[in-house]
Amino acid sequence: MSTRVQTQGRLINRDRPVSFKFNGALLKGCQGDTLASALLANDQMLMGRSFKYHRPRGVVASGSEEPNALVGLGEGNRFEPNQRATTTEIFHGLTATSQNHWPSLNYDVGIVNNTLSRFLSAGFYYKMFIHPRPFWKHVYEPFIRHSAGLGKAPDKDARDADRYEHFYAFTDVLVIGGGVAGLQSALTAARAGAKVLLLEQTAHLGGRAPVDGGTIDGMDPDAWVTKAREELDALPNAQIRTRTMGAGVYDHGYVLGYERLTDHAPEMAGPRHRLWRIRAAQVITATGAIERPLSFAGNDIPGVMLASAVRDYLVNFGVSPGDRTVVVTNNDDAYRTAIALVQAGLKVPAILDARPEGGGALMEEAKALGIGVETGAAAVKVKGAKRVHSVCRGVQAGEGEVLEEIFCDAVAMSGGWSPVVHLWSHCGGKLNWDAAQAAFRPDHTRAPTSHDGNPFVITAGSADGEMHLNNVLQNAANAGKTAAQRAGFDSGDIDAPGADAPDEAPLVPVWMMPQGAKKELRMKAWLDYQNDVKVSDVQLAAQEGFESVEHTKRYTTLGMATDQGKLSNINGLATLANALGEDIPQVGTTTFRPPYTPISMGAIAGEARGEIFQPIRKTPMHDWHEANGAHWEPVGHWRRPYAFPKSGESVKDAVHREVLATRNSLGLLDASTLGKIIVKGPDAGRFLDMLYTNMMSTLKVGKCRYGLMCTENGFLTDDGVVARIDEDTFLCHTTTGGADRIHAHMEEWLQTEWWDFKVWTVNATEQLAQVAVVGPNARKLLEKLGGMDVSKENLAFMEWKDGELAGFPVRVYRISFSGELSYEIAVPANLGRAFWDKLLEAGQEWNITPYGTEALHIMRAEKGFIMIGDETDGTVIPQDLGLDWAISKKKDDYIGKRAQARSHMTDPRRWKLVGLETLNGSTLMDGAYAIAAGTNENGQRNTQGRVTSTYHSPTLGKGIAMGLVLDGPDRMGEVIEFTAGGDDTIKAKIVNAVFFDPDGEKQNV
């Protein structure tokens, strides 16, 4: 059984018990435990069930590479699935549940999949479930859905209870990894004067060195780490962030760091995670190495663990995974585990070393402790169900003949070490195959390059492939020096400390154990624990013709689980290479992609949630609208009132009321969102002539003109009223959504094409609140306010004047988008609310009625005025809309003119704008198509037009619409048929688009 031992445990505090729950049972751990170590201390070796076969699985590793021990953490709003027990620090009240089992972890009915396993081989989705097709919905899918999958998604009503944030940091040298290599790199770079930021994903510095032993500068590694930390802490140019993972390395020195602030202590206030958005001149990845499993039958039975993990649990947490542990290895490092176990008073019945000659100094040390070593040996298979029962020993060179059954309750395996090259590779760093170490190592001549074309990533220590402690430190110091130099700091001499550790004998690559294992053994030898991919699956894929490692990955799902194949990658591609009869480097690796381990969605979103999920733009009158029941409509980031329903009134009724009140008496519109761009300079008229289809340079000071703007490919993009302020100055109104875009459009042409034009622009949209006072009583209201002459004689239609109204400094435009007598009045934004209130108060006697965008739209449609975004969709030119009158014939050029002369644009068959009225007075559907005779090549009905705007007109008491129709203007009075949802159609008559007051008598009073 696994249990807490009396010795060791450098990371735990035995005097501080911590209680937590696993699957409802109350358990005790110690402060400093991970969930995995605490579960092991409680003899909870079984931590989950596998993805496909629901096989019982125990913890394999001790760090972020763990594939098996995934749990659901927390409850309710704080529930998170698929969290690694090995990287979860325990705290009082932690609640964890195991995943992917039913009805319980110990007894799972899904294990029957085991017996179906021969049907669930590589590519089984593609092969087994193709026919018959109806089976998909009723048999296959329910079966797969029920049996596959890892953690459950959080409840749909749950809302993340935590908050998150981002932080932008800039540094000369970023060191990722706080092991002895990372610390040494940081020290060297910081001593040279570079600004250094060091990230360590766990809560502790030092990495593996304190577990693996040896001495640094004659000191215990722990003591050296403490000293290094003290020196870095004292340097003003160095900073260490623990619990912060280097998640990804991106272009031009951009790195994401993932800081977990309160995961280990949820009672702490403040953000849960912080996403560091780091820009580094140089990045050192000191990310260490990961031990590889060995491929023997039964290597997934709970109790089979990486040799390094067994050692970690013992040394760091004082936990023994078993009383009797068999060590299986192809290298010297695993001997450290055997030695540590025996020194802790535990039994190691045998070390099975696959190498014919065995190991070096460490083997001698183990033998001296009385541990039996079998060389040239293999674990033929491990027996057991929910726990290791025994190991069957054979010879590595054989096919699986069992020579001896060794009873034990744990197996420590080691297939050698793979440098963690992920972060080196994220941004394009290339790898070389090192046959001696049987590992991919960074190729320094092909490093990721930055904006200046120079390398910006350096690997250090065992991440670079150095495995001996002394070499690790030397290598790391070199990396620190190089990084500092590249960032412009010269460190002079290399300052690496000397380190002592036993020399190790070379490993012998072992990709299958025993090398000639028969099929029934290979079918039980797991490569990818999380996705249940076995040696036989990869071999089958190769047999079936999958030669590319990228294809094999997708076909077998090898390395595609949440651990991204940290343990399985190299073993998998070595197996593939063997099956294909190729060398490993020829087969190559799959692509390493960020993040290194999954990061929370919350961290990615940062502060953007709730009220500040996105910027909501508010006008100066927004609060009034809010307080008066505005039904909001988003227009870009603006919120505009759609209508102001009164208590008990429907939105539709409110719109109806607002239209009639405006038409009959007096309406009020908050038009502040309209763009207002000031264009000034001796060439302003010339510039606007290029920008608008109209002639603007001839506009008289004091006058307004409605203008159209097109893109260079001829399509109508914006419209609005232009006012000439003085000889050199124009004010251009844009649509609500168009202000920023049109201002950018103006700047683009001025800066990049017509830089000889003497023109300045300023986007003054938000300087001014703008209110439209609309209706037959509009003038009376302004006269009541007093301060300026707004008579027909002094302020005629399409004129503007500066002045004062009720003491407010105003600019009044006599323009109309409704066909009514109408004034648009601009006041400084900070006076907008007061002016609005004043209008409401003074207008009471005329039943002044604030109206929203829907009433605005209806009134403009009644007048046949187009709306950008309704009548236009990026494919419509002004000529389609009958706006030829707004296109100057006198100008040589304007933006879009040449395009409008292209053959498709002048095609007489282009659909043209008309008015539409149903025969029965009902309202056409928005976007409805006009049906033509026959069908097209796809069997769809032919069309001859479409509805662009459609409303029920309260003024006219019937449905009105505008639409683009083939030869429309020539077909007045003709009745055509429109789609009406489903197979229904409705008849409508083609009419003039100006439905109301066609002579404009109301607005010209």
């Binding site: 991106y250 272009d251 031009h252 020195g253 951009y254 820009r279 390059t449 930055s450 904006h451 200046d452 074309g453 260079e712 490919n713 950018a744 700047e747 683009e748 800066q751 990049t752 094409e753 830089w755 040589d892 050029d893 003119k897 040449r898 395009a899 002369a901 292209r902």
Partner: protein, 109 residues
């Protein structure tokens, strides 16, 4: 995420401050142009693997458009320069010639 220096305000700006504006140094063809000229101006773009000349705007910054000479394969930025020019300046072309001997881009070599 790219880092490009704005030649107007000197800020080494990350991509989120910038707006990409497509190919640089296009010649505008207006109403008197042929269909072929206009089509080429409006639609035909270089798509090189390697040296490219682009327009960028420091939109969340000083607001200025500028030009950048950049490698589309390695993302190396050879230099940035004024928007008010119809051809890259000599010093930038010299830099590119030194780093990418034999490069070709439209009529530039």
């Amino acid at each position: 995420m790219l880092l490009i220096t704005c030649p107007y305000c000197g800020v080494e700006a990350e991509e989120t401050e910038l707006h990409a504006g497509g190919e640089a140094h296009l010649t505008r063809f207006g109403p008197d142009s042929s269909d072929a000229e206009f089509t080429s101006y409006l639609f035909h773009r270089e798509n090189p693997k390697g040296v490219h000349f682009e327009r960028w705007r420091h939109v969340n910054g000083c607001g200025k458009w500028f030009h950048a000479a950049r490698a589309t394969d390695t993302l190396e930025v050879f230099g940035t320069y004024s928007a008010q020019t119809t051809t890259p300046p000599k010093d930038i072309l010299d830099t590119i010639r030194a780093k990418r001997p034999g490069f070709r881009w439209r009529d530039l070599t």
